[in-house]
């Protein structure tokens, strides 16, 4: 690749030492990954597998025990690597005494923004994350999801080329979480690199180009999402208003064809996420209508 990688992690090892020379915790063991500019990269793995630690190392918040991290070719331990990156930490927390608008302003100013540009940007950001109504309220009373949103606004304020999101949808309601998903897709369209980790696998599946699976501090699998999840020898067939006669015919056809097995057959289902959305959003949206008309769907996997 001639282009310089947005994120490059090279043989990253991070050990945490317990207090009073206690036992070492190996948070990350030899992780290497490379994220190309414009890519959406998802890191997934169980709790305590080292996702947040990897991200903190990329941002220079923890120093690698060995190995190195770089953002757009600049070493993460140096301050200037942070000019073009926005970070949303897990369970973000900000100064309680500031209002939403003041918070975004503070972070904008830290990035060297000022004047008109900054004022416009604050409004733009608050609108983007849907917090205009709360712009003059102090963060003290904010709910978890609202804090997450202000965290996103803060991360994006200087229009960074790379956004690092540690569980961006944790604590956000399904509607908000869908909005964040759409936001990430918008970022992707604008060519912004996104490095995220999440436990919502459906979402990761929807938005990521590439995925890394980390377990016990080791990157156990990594690759293009399409390659990782497609089951090459299986085909899914979804029929609308299929009669039982047709179903019988299909079954017979499958039976007589050599080397084909019917793996499963049943009523097609909507996901819990879209069900929740349908119930909480009212029947007006297209999505809802589409889902309801699919009542008599049948699903066959061969």
């Amino acid at each position: 690749m001639s282009e310089v990688a947005a994120v490059r992690v090279k043989n990253l090892v991070k050990d945490f030492r317990g207090p009073f020379r206690g036992k070492k915790v190996h948070a990350v063991r030899d992780v290497s990954l490379k994220i190309a500019p414009g890519e959406v990269y998802g890191l997934i793995g169980p709790n305590g597998s080292g996702k947040s630690t990897t991200m903190k190392a990329v941002l220079g918040l923890v120093a690698p025990t060995s190995g190195s991290c770089a953002i757009f070719g600049k070493n993460s331990t140096k301050v200037d690597s942070r000019g073009e990156v926005g970070f949303l930490p897990e369970n973000p927390y900000f100064y309680k005494h500031l209002t939403a608008a003041e918070t975004v302003r503070f972070y904008g100013r830290l990035c060297g923004m000022r004047g008109r540009v900054l004022r416009d940007r604050i409004e733009e950001m608050l609108e983007l994350v849907g917090l205009q109504e709360a712009r003059d309220r102090r963060l003290k009373g904010f709910s978890k999801g609202m804090l997450q949103r202000i965290g996103l606004a803060q991360a994006l304020v200087q229009d960074p080329r790379l956004v690092v999101l540690d569980e961006p949808t944790a604590g956000v309601d399904p509607k908000g979480s869908r909005e964040i998903r759409d936001l990430i897709l918008t970022l992707k369209e604008r060519g912004i690199t996104v490095f995220l980790c999440s436990h919502l696998l459906e979402q990761v599946q929807e938005i990521c180009d590439r995925v890394g699976i980390i377990h016990g501090g080791v990157l156990v699998n990594e690759g293009r999402l399409d390659d990782l999840i497609s089951l090459e020898d299986k085909t899914e067939l979804i029929l609308e208003n299929a009669s039982s006669v047709l179903m019988e015919q299909i079954r017979e056809l499958v039976e007589v064809t050599h080397g084909v097995n019917l793996v499963s057959e049943g009523q097609a289902r909507t996901t819990l996420e879209s069900l929740f959305l349908r119930e909480t959003q009212g029947a007006s949206s297209q999505e809802g209508r589409r889902q309801r008309s699919g009542k008599s769907r049948k699903r066959i996997i061969r």
């Binding site: 923890v62 900000f94 830290l110 200087q158």
Partner: protein, 308 residues
């Protein structure tokens, strides 16, 4: 967008200082000025009973007492305030993880520390200014009152003109003079130094309580250091020059604990209305800058390797 400089930037320090001031103001810390104001005003009416009778204090003594109480209160409040606010700020940011979001913007850690300390110092300055205005106002009225009473008394007894003028001058010297301001300045500078000490401790301590306790200890040792050192070494080597070992230990102590001897000397002189050399005030300023500088740099060393 202007490209943010990757090393120390005064503008960024100011931004962080400003946010610290906002934070402290919104924490309603200025409310502690209310009892101080009440105390200063209350002192105004304190003398009435004392003045008459054989036990009456001399007017200068009374003014001195007023100054002593006020300056002492100012010193106590600013120093404690410096310790507590500094000890709350940085561990608070770490516990809240607010620090993550600040440090992953292009903000060098030195800028963050300097900004926090500057914010505390600005608030200290405002508080000191308010208390100083109160002190000067109450002392002014008090001095006028004493001048009036004394002149009346002296005229009644029939003192010559010259002696009345001398008596008045002596009382006026205990009023709100520039000398008094040096005393206030020394307390302010002391509070700044102790804030820097608390900053250093809060960079490696893991709890607010530890930071406060240790800073208070250093503050006390620093205040009595000269006495402690004299007691430790001069007594032992009675009449002899202190041995080189004593000297080394003494120097080490004065490195770890800031020596507030000069601060105390100047504020004492101010309260007693004795002359203070301008060169001493200059030395005091220099010493404070050096102390604050050393503690900030040490904090930076500790803080730059810190992980969160």
């Amino acid at each position: 967008m202007s490209s943010p400089s990757s090393f120390f930037s005064p503008r960024r320090v100011l931004i962080i200082a400003q946010s610290t001031v906002t934070q402290l103001v919104r924490m309603k810390i200025f409310y502690f000025l209310a009892p101080v104001a009440l105390l200063f005003l209350g002192l105004q009416f304190f003398d009435a009973i004392w003045f008459e009778g054989p036990e009456a204090l001399m007017p200068e003594q009374e003014l001195r007492m007023h100054k002593n109480i006020c300056l002492g209160t100012m010193m106590l409040f600013t120093s404690l305030f410096a310790i507590v606010s500094t000890a709350l700020l940085i561990p608070g940011d770490i516990e809240d993880r607010t620090l993550y979001t600040i440090l992953c913007k292009p903000v060098p850690r030195l800028d963050y520390l300097a900004g926090k300390l500057l914010g505390v110092i600005v608030v200290l300055f405002i508080a000191m200014l308010v208390m100083d205005v109160l002190l000067v106002t109450t002392l002014h009225f008090r001095t006028e009152e004493k001048l009036l009473q004394t002149t009346e008394y002296m005229v009644k007894i029939g003192y010559p003109e010259r002696e009345i003028a001398a008596g008045r001058a002596e009382i006026a010297a205990h009023g709100p003079t520039i000398l008094l301001q040096f005393g206030v300045l020394s307390h302010f500078l002391k509070a700044c130094v102790i804030a820097a000490v608390a900053l250093l401790i809060s960079t490696f301590s893991t709890s607010t309580l530890f930071t406060i306790a240790t800073s208070v200890m250093i503050w006390i040792i620093g205040s009595f250091q000269s006495i402690a050192r004299d007691g430790l070494f001069n007594d032992a080597s009675f009449g002899e020059a202190p041995s080189w070992a004593d000297k080394i230990v003494g120097t080490l102590i004065s490195l770890v604990f800031p020596d507030f001897q000069l601060f105390e000397a100047i504020s004492d002189a101010a309260a007693r209305a004795e002359d203070v050399l301008y060169s001493d005030v200059g030395q005091l300023l220099g010493l404070s800058v050096v102390y604050v500088g050393i503690y900030v740099v040490l904090s930076w060393f500790v803080f730059s390797d810190k992980e969160f």
